[in-house]
Symmetry: C2
Subunit: 460 residues, 2 copies
Amino acid sequence: MAKDVFDGLPYKLFLEEAEMPKAWYNLRADMKNKPAPLLNPATGKPATFEELASVFCDEGARQELDETTPWIAIPQPIRDFYRVYRPSPLIHAEFLEKLLGTPAKIFYKFEGSNTSGSHKLNSAAAQAYFAKQQGLKGVTTETGAGQWGTALAMACAFFGLDCQVYMVKVSYEQKPFRREVMHTYGAKVTASPSETTEVGRKILAEFPGTGGSLGCAISEAVEAARAQDGYRYVLGSVLNQVMLHQSIIGLETKSALDKYGIKPDIIIGCAGGGSNLGGLIAPFAGEKIRGEADYRLVAVEPASCPSLTRGKFAYDYCDTGKICPLAKMYTLGSGFMPAATHAGGLRYHGMSPVLSQLYHDGLMEACTVKQTEVFAAARDFARVEGILPAPESSHAIKAAIDEALKCKETGEEKVIVFGLTGTGYFDMKAYERFNKGEMEDHPLSDSDLEKSLSMLPQIG
Amino acid sequence: MAKDVFDGLPYKLFLEEAEMPKAWYNLRADMKNKPAPLLNPATGKPATFEELASVFCDEGARQELDETTPWIAIPQPIRDFYRVYRPSPLIHAEFLEKLLGTPAKIFYKFEGSNTSGSHKLNSAAAQAYFAKQQGLKGVTTETGAGQWGTALAMACAFFGLDCQVYMVKVSYEQKPFRREVMHTYGAKVTASPSETTEVGRKILAEFPGTGGSLGCAISEAVEAARAQDGYRYVLGSVLNQVMLHQSIIGLETKSALDKYGIKPDIIIGCAGGGSNLGGLIAPFAGEKIRGEADYRLVAVEPASCPSLTRGKFAYDYCDTGKICPLAKMYTLGSGFMPAATHAGGLRYHGMSPVLSQLYHDGLMEACTVKQTEVFAAARDFARVEGILPAPESSHAIKAAIDEALKCKETGEEKVIVFGLTGTGYFDMKAYERFNKGEMEDHPLSDSDLEKSLSMLPQIG
């Protein structure tokens, strides 16, 4: 690339509001091997629109099944909401480059400049709007660390919709500030498992002292949606519709790079359920599939929860309660119990079917990083780039630094783009452990993996 | 104003990096009545450069005394740091306008898009750079709620300077997350009062169980700076040099408004020590003084700590330890003990000498608002504008809403601009009290005020 592309580049490659995407990009339309269909757990057959629409909003169910329409217009009210916190900046990490002494050019797409503190708001806004438009009274959901719940509470406050969040009990108690942000936005937050649902009461009877789990909270949220007229359940990751909404991240990234004449070589994102990474790489993966350009697309996983790198590509349940549709994905098994690491958003047993298919077809790579090296990267990044990153996002930072240091060895001036999904303001307990030298790594052991994978359902 | 100015206006009136100010504006150069000089507490005479330079950095001492140079160039390394988080957006509060049903046009300058979460970073960056440039090893400071300490820690990490923060003990214990942000940026944080200074040991001997105070933390920080070779003390508000650095807020605001052809009628900011308000209104006050334009400039104070509206314009100590220079300002008395409200940044007994003089000369107004109505305004604002505001900033929101509702009554389409100094992510305990209906107001009683003012020094 011509060197002068980088001369006089602003620190933030901002887009004007008028340059914001007006449609989401549906990568599935361009995929040669489509992701396998979701299966109804009761019938074992592909879930129909009617079945999906009994759980999700109608428009969400339609988007879930749509694998042919490449561009789906973003309704004006959602674009209005996006204007509140978007376009998000694509930042030229010049101070990180200087710290590393690398010839590589590093850029990051920062999705943390909103109160929810992460990219989750992109899909929350869409799902809340579609629920409102359908005339629903409210939505239910689960949240672990709280980013998704906060994002949904914000979106529901904006569109005037009731919001009921089942928050994993251990987080409810340990993250009271997240809970209070949701309260401030008017959401009802219930510690899960709770006495408000049948599944909650059953689990409490069986395990009276349990701190809860994401799987249980999902089951409670789905049950609560079904029990109330005018309510539906919404989910913040994994699903095809979520990938679709998150494509705005990649579309903005590509527009900003194109505007300045920059072509990336490597695009990196952290991967839990896949919502951020799937959105970031979508337009680039599309070009790659259509043979218009080539990029290295890299998923970064925690060594403690390595679904792509060590999981199995198979049909599995999305929740431990086994009431949601089954998905074909890289999975560690729906019974997998991840270690108590601090990147709550990356502790999911499976990976989005879209990303799983891309990985399976060799269109995307994956790597793992360890918790302590992730926090060291986060600290170094914060000190020069200012932003205090979320533990999840810091997985991408670590991988980007490693690639930049490889360039330092080889002298290559590669262009590295990574997704900085959010801020770590509500993760200071984790930073405290790291600052005090008390943090540990929890790489997944072979025996734990084997045990978990042995419980996969025998389908397909 | 022509209506079409507001048609098709973007939500964020962003400036390009190239449009960022290259010099700070020194309002004192245009003031007809200059603020009274700082007095040396030992001699009772105006503090000289040498005396100030024994406490502050040389450049800071120079700026403190400069009341003739209207424009002071911002050194390139500080401008580089500003690029990390500036220009800050001037946001058209269209969703708040809609909620209120007001014909008024409301804009807010948002200074919270950085990890310190407030405007404090503008002066921290400058002071850290000047200390580094002078060849100093490090700086000391005090912090109450933690915004200033966090900002200084960030700036010191960026410029490679040691940072020692004396944090009021009660905050150190109640705000562990703020403390950990500072640790992550490499700062040394000491709970004050501490055993590390003479003044700290003395206070601990006298009041063994004390939770500390800002006044005591200032005294410890000044003593610590004096006790170490190559260290100076830095302060985040009140001082003339701080007002100067913060003028970047007002300069950017004015540039953005000018760019879109918008002329404000009312400019509103919360006022504690005055750093944000002084910076926001500086260029507008300059025009007003020079007779080029007229604006209503409004300081908003908490009813619990009303230095402008109920204090006395007199020389007073800036710290309870009485070791810092005396300033002529509106003050409640350096022995004033503010109620335990949640807007820690507005609990200072005095007001910047620059703002005090403007108020005394009738160039600026002031009003007070109560804590519970401030949090109600904050909640309403958060739900439509997305941003969860700091309690301090929310004082300005409340006053702006009141002005907008007056316009609704009169039908006037006034342009209201207010400063949104920061985010409330570290103030969720306060929001929790509000959400639970447990928050109280603490308006200052006449008897407490009388008692506090009776202890003012008899000078000038």
